[in-house]
Each structure stands twice: as C-alpha cells, then as structure tokens.
C-alpha cells in the first residue's frame, strides 16, 4: 500500500512544474490586474470603475467588439457547419481533407493577415469593417470546423439510418438527428471562435488601417498611456464577459460530459 502511495505522489510531482508555471504566469498577473483595478494613487478606490462605466466611448467600443465577435462566430458557424458535415460524411476515413482545412493555421496568423491585406489592396477593395470581418472569419474558421468535424464524425451511422427508416428525408434527418447530436461540437466551436474574436485587435488594426478601434486597442492605449487602473478595469470586464459566456454555453450544453470537458 505504502509503495503505491509513493508512486502516485511522484507521478503527481510531474504536474508541479506546470502548476508553478500557471501560478506565476496566470494567477499572479490576474491578481495584479485585480489589485490595479482598485488602486488609485496607491489607495483603495472605485474611481477606476466609475471612470470606465461613465465613459460612453469605452462602452461603445466594447459594444462594437462584442458585435464583431458575435458576427464572426455566426458566419463561422454558417460556413463551418456544412464544411464539417460534408467532410465527415464523405471523407470520414481520410485525414488528408481535414488536414487541408487546418493547414492555414500552420502559417503565422500575422503573415496570413498581411497577405490578406495585400490581396485586398491588389483587388482595390477599400479596407474597413467588411475586410476586418472577412479576416476574422478566415482566421478563426478552422477552430470552428475542427470540433464540429469531430462531433459529426462521431455520430453513430445507425442513428441516421434509423431516422431514414422512420420516414425522415435528408433534410429532416439533418435537422432532427445530426444537428442535435453534434450540439456539443457546435457549442465548443462557438466558444473557440467567440472568445478570441472579441478580444482581438491585431487583425482589426491591420485590415482596417487602424480605423476600426476595438476594445483590445482601447485597453492597449490605456496601458501604454500609464492608465493602469482603468486598463485593468477593462481587462476585468473582458474577463467577466468571457466567464459569463462560458457559463451560458455550459448551461446550454446541459449535462453533456463532452461539452464540459471541451470547455475547460
């Protein structure tokens, strides 16, 4: 008995470096942000919160960011679902096709975005909101397709056949069998696209010549102008929104174990 206990302890020890890493680079910075949010000239205060929430500009920027994130997610889902569906249906066994869809992510996203910009310029397309959303969808689409593909490919073929046997046509089978069964994939796809696209700023800066000013830009401006308090409040707001969103998605997933596993 003692021996096994010893072994489990040493096994656990392999996790310590990462736990230490987490503490240093995730927990400590979070605590610092939290502290900074409540500090004004070294004294505890809510002034930073008042300053942010009374500033309509900041709220409008946040609203724009949320909308862009939402639209990106919606468009990714719209394009990603059929792609993942047909990939799973016709090429479930061959990994090559899936690989083709992840291939772009092997190139650094800044390089891809700069190339996208060059293409827009060559085509004479005016940079703006449209190009930003295009860039975001292009960039985050693989993160939507991948979980969807896994979910759809995992559906038991017998269930689909059963649906046909019971008289449903192709479309009905799709809506009433495949979509509900791939629900977990949809939810994790949405999370994987929405969260990074809300807080992005590099893509929007490059693809709009910095005309589209998003929440990430605003936070960055605050920090670079020595306004750490307000900047921290904004980071906190962003963090809370993400947590809230995760909770909502988790609830929508019900007790599905796969979903909660892919969430965390």
């Amino acid at each position: 008995m003692k021996k096994t206990k010893g072994i489990t302890l040493t096994r656990r020890a392999f996790a310590y470096p990462y736990v230490l890493f987490l503490m240093l680079f995730v927990v400590v910075p979070l605590v610092l942000i939290l502290l900074n949010a409540f500090l004004v000239d070294g004294a505890l205060s809510f002034d930073n919160f008042v300053e942010f929430f009374s500033d309509t500009t900041g709220l409008q920027v946040l609203e724009n960011s949320l909308i862009i994130g939402f639209a990106t997610t919606l468009l990714c889902l719209l394009i990603g679902y059929p792609t993942a569906y047909f990939l799973a249906k016709y090429h479930a066994s061959s990994k090559i096709y899936v690989l083709l869809f992840i291939l772009p992510t092997w190139v650094n996203f800044l390089i891809r975005t700069l190339s996208t910009k060059a293409i827009f310029l060559a085509l004479g397309i005016e940079l703006g909101m449209g190009t930003v959303v295009f860039g975001m969808v292009y960039n985050y689409l693989p993160y939507m397709i991948l979980p969807l593909h896994t979910a759809i490919a995992g559906i038991d073929k017998n269930l689909i056949e059963a649906s046909h046997d019971l008289g449903a046509n192709g479309l009905q089978t799709f809506v009433k069998t495949i979509v509900p069964l791939s629900w977990s994939g949809i939810l994790s796809g949405i999370t994987m696209v929405f969260i990074p696209s809300v807080s992005t700023f590099a893509i929007s800066e490059l693809l709009s010549n910095r005309q589209i000013f998003l929440f990430g830009d605003s936070i960055q401006t605050k920090f670079s102008q020595n306004m750490y308090g307000v900047g921290s409040v904004m980071s906190l707001v962003m963090l809370l929104l993400v947590v809230l969103f995760n909770l909502l998605v988790n609830r929508a997933g019900g007790n599905d174990d796969d979903v909660s596993r892919s969430m965390l």
């Binding site: 500009t57 609203e63 724009n64 909308i67 639209a71 719209l78 010549n209 910095r210 605003s218 670079s224």
Partner: protein, 475 residues
C-alpha cells in the same frame, strides 16, 4: 546516515568553491544601456568595450536593454524596476524624470575631461535649455536640462507626401507648401479641396502627442483657433492643453476622418513607398528613409515642415540615480559624440545626430564612412562630395532653414502632465466615432436567418407534399 551527510557536505563545499571561483574572474565592470530598439549601430557596443579597456584598463560587460515607448520606460524607472546605468528617452520624458528626481547631474558640457563635448551642436543645447527653463528637481531647485542630459538624436515632425501623384494631378510643390498641415486634411491654402486623388489616401500617425501638435498647428494655420489663442507662439500653442482647445482639436480630427486612409505606426512609410497612400504625418528620420527607399523604387517622395510652425524633438542620454557605473556611463555618452561614431549611428539609424554638422563635415573619418555607405561621392578631382548628406534640409533643418523660423516656429513639446488623460479620452473618442457595428450585426443575422429559414421552409414544404400524398392515397 552519517555517510550521506558527509557526502552532502562535501558536495556543498565543492559547489561553493566552484561557484566562488566562477565569480572571481568576473571582476569586469558592468554597464547596462537602456535604449530604443535599433537605435545604435551594431558594432558600437563592442568598440566601446575596447575603448573602455583603453581608458580605464578594465574590461566592461555591456548589457543592452530596449524599450518601445517612453511610457514603458518611465513606468519601469518610476517603479524602481530598472537597474540601468544610462537611458535615452525623449525630451518630455527626460523632463518627467528630472522632476521626479530620478536623474543624476552629468554636467557634460562643463567638464574638460570629455574630449567630444565640443562637437555637440550648441544651438540644440540652447534650444533645449530655453524650452525647459523651469524644471525643478527635488532637493536641488531649478536646474538646467543640459546639466542632466546629453542630446543624441533629433528631428522634426512634418508632412511626407508623394510628389509624383501631386504633380500628375496638377498640384505644384508651392501649392503643397502653402497648404502646409492642410495636406493632411486634403485642403489647399484657402481651405478648398487640394487634390481629389488624395481623398482616402492620407495617413495619420497613431501617436497621440504628434497628432495633437500637428492638429493645433493646423488650426492655427487656418485661423480656426478659439479666441485668445491666436497670439500664442508655436511653442506655447503645442503645449497648451485645455478643454476649449481640446474640443476644437477633436472637431478637426473628426472632420479629418472623411479623407483619411487610416492610422499607422510603422507601416505608413512602406505604404507611401508602395504607392498605396500619398501623404502621411512623419518624423524627419523616417521621411529620409522613405525618400531614399522611394528613390530606389522609382517613387518621388518629399517631406517638409509646414511654414506656420512645426515640432522639433530631441532624444538624449541621462544617467539615472540607480546607476552603478557612473564613469562608464559618462564615457559611453562621450564615446557616442565622437564624430566617426556619431556619423556611423546617423547612417545606420537614419535620424540626425546632435553632433554639429558644421564641425564634422570636413573630417576625413566622417567622409570615409559616408563614402562607404554611398552618402557621398568622389568628384573628378578625387575630392569627397558629401553635399547630398550635409545639405539636406530635412536632415539638418537648423543649418538650412531660416534661423528665425527655427527660433520662433519650431516648438518643443513638453509633458502634458495631468491633462494627459483628457487628451487620451479625446483621442479614443475620435478613433471610435463613426464606427458602428450594428449594420454588421443586422447583415449577419439576416444571412443566418435566411439560411436557417430556408432549411425549415424546405422541410415544411416537403411535409405538406407528403401529407397531400397520404390524403390522396386515402381517397
């Protein structure tokens, strides 16, 4: 057990000895330089180490640390996180550091032991001391800035533009010069449209202080200043930050958005060279780089500092109170002012060194470096002709612009102080205005709705059809 502890003790002892031995030979002096990235010639540091050895007989271990904005550097110094020996901030950050008591006096220009202090342009020192005449250092009182800093690089803020595009659209250089800061608003001297082609092809710098300076000067040029502000000199005007002026600046920047291509930090000059943008707010050093690169690409770019007034800036070396090697830091500063080192840096960085061009323009070692880098050429008699380098109005505005203009029309920006957050607010308002994502939301929801709706409609139609079939069969 005893054995183990003995072995342990032995290991500890040996490691201790080894580590002591390892420490022992590193008696080399240390020098930590805190500077902008790419703001010094590659081999300067090694060469300085040799120079240091010659001068002091000791080795020096140089560490080069960089910052990307003055604000990052300021925070680090103010929080006492930076163990550095010599720093190169911009003038307003130096003001802040001196006022915060973070600087040691250097007294570079009063000390005879520095051989190269004579080469520093006295016009620059004079300008700096005039502008920052009332700095108070804690526990010392009012001080002269030149006692605390040694200027390194300097330049002006102005308008970089594509001359080809203007000329092919019938806009002459005189008209551009007359338009001044108006070029960035696509306005000619009367406030009318300057050039149709220019619309949506103008860049503004994503840099709050520079934008502020250029905008107030634009207001001055077009008599748009609020009452009572017309009499302020350029130097006073660009350092005036109050609500009345800010609201005017905000309005001007909002109006400007209609003609803007966007805001940029680093890409602007490349876009001008590539010909995707035609005008940009630029620093003289960047402008020189862009003009030279443009020449290679076959694009004629040009730069000017508008007549109504402009901004002149300085970066200089200071020694922070945290300095561990004051002699080394001073030697380093002096080394950078050696004419050949200064020229090499100038050629590499692209900005103008504070070393006086009038004193060094004939020196053989300077000409040699310029020849090597193709900034000078040999004429038919074998003489070196460096006029391309030294006669450049952009590189040496003090030598070639009217001295009255330099004195009265080129202002230095100080720290905005407590008004800074107000300027940031205005800037964010300007940046976010006119961007509305609601249309986007509408469009994407509509698309999504159409697709989902079609699917359900198809199902519904299909069901109806089958129902009909069932009913028919029944009949």
């Amino acid at each position: 057990m005893k054995k183990i502890s003995l072995i342990l003790a032995f290991i500890l002892a040996t490691t201790l000895i080894v580590s002591l031995c390892a420490c022992a030979p590193s008696t080399a002096d240390k020098l930590v330089i805190y500077n902008w990235a790419d703001y010094i010639y590659d081999t300067d540091l090694e060469d300085f180490a040799e120079f240091y050895l010659e001068q002091t007989g000791r080795e020096v271990e140089i560490t080069y640390v960089t910052f990307d904005t003055n604000e990052t550097m300021l925070t680090k110094i103010q929080q006492g996180d930076a163990d550095v020996d010599v720093i190169c901030p911009s003038e307003y950050a130096i003001q802040k550091l001196i006022e915060g008591g973070y600087c040691l006096p250097i007294n570079y220009f009063d000390d005879d032991q520095y051989q190269n202090s004579q080469y520093v342009d006295d016009r620059i020192i004079e300008k700096i001391d005039n502008v920052f005449s009332s700095i108070t250092c804690p526990n010392v009182g009012t001080v002269k800035m030149s006692d605390y800093m040694v200027p390194y690089m300097w330049g002006t803020l102005g308008v970089l533009y594509n001359q080809d595009v203007f000329e092919s659209n019938g806009v002459s250089i005189e008209e551009i010069y007359d338009a001044g800061w108006g070029v960035l608003w696509n306005k000619d001297k009367n406030g009318d449209l300057l050039c149709q082609e220019l619309n949506k092809r103008i860049f503004m710098k994503d840099s709050i202080r520079d934008v502020y300076a250029s905008t107030v000067l634009y207001l001055k040029q077009y008599d748009l200043l609020p009452q009572g502000y017309e009499t302020l000199s350029v130097g006073q005007l660009i350092n005036t930050v109050d609500d009345i002026l800010l609201s005017k600046v905000e309005q001007a920047l909002l109006n400007q958005k209609e003609v803007l291509y966007g805001y940029e930090v680093d890409f602007g000059k490349n876009d001008l060279i590539a010909g995707t943008a035609y005008a940009d707010l630029a620093w003289s050093g960047d402008a020189i780089y862009a003009i030279e690169e443009g020449e290679a690409e076959g694009v004629t770019l040009n730069y000017f500092s508008p007549e109504v007034g402009g901004n002149i800036w300085f970066d200089g070396w200071i020694i922070p109170t945290s300095c561990q090697n004051e002699t080394g830091a001073k030697l380093f500063i002096d080394y950078l002012n050696r004419p050949d080192v200064a020229t090499q840096n100038m050629v590499y960085i692209g900005y103008t060194s504070a070393v006086d061009s009038r004193q060094i323009c004939q020196m053989p070692e300077v000409l040699e470096i310029l020849l090597e880098n193709e900034y000078a050429e040999l004429d038919e008699y074998g003489n070196v002709d460096a006029s391309y380098f030294f006669d450049s109005e952009i590189r040496y505005p003090l030598d070639h612009l009217d001295s009255d203009y330099v004195d009265t029309r080129l202002g230095v920006m100080k720290d905005f102080g407590t008004s800074n957050s107000k300027v940031v607010q205005v800037w964010e308002r300007v940046r976010s205005t006119g961007v509305s994502a609601w249309t986007l939301l509408g469009v994407s929801i509509v698309i999504f709705g159409i697709v989902v709706g079609t699917i359900f409609l198809l199902i519904y139609v299909d069901q109806r059809k089958r129902m009909c079939v069932l009913i028919e069969n029944k009949d």
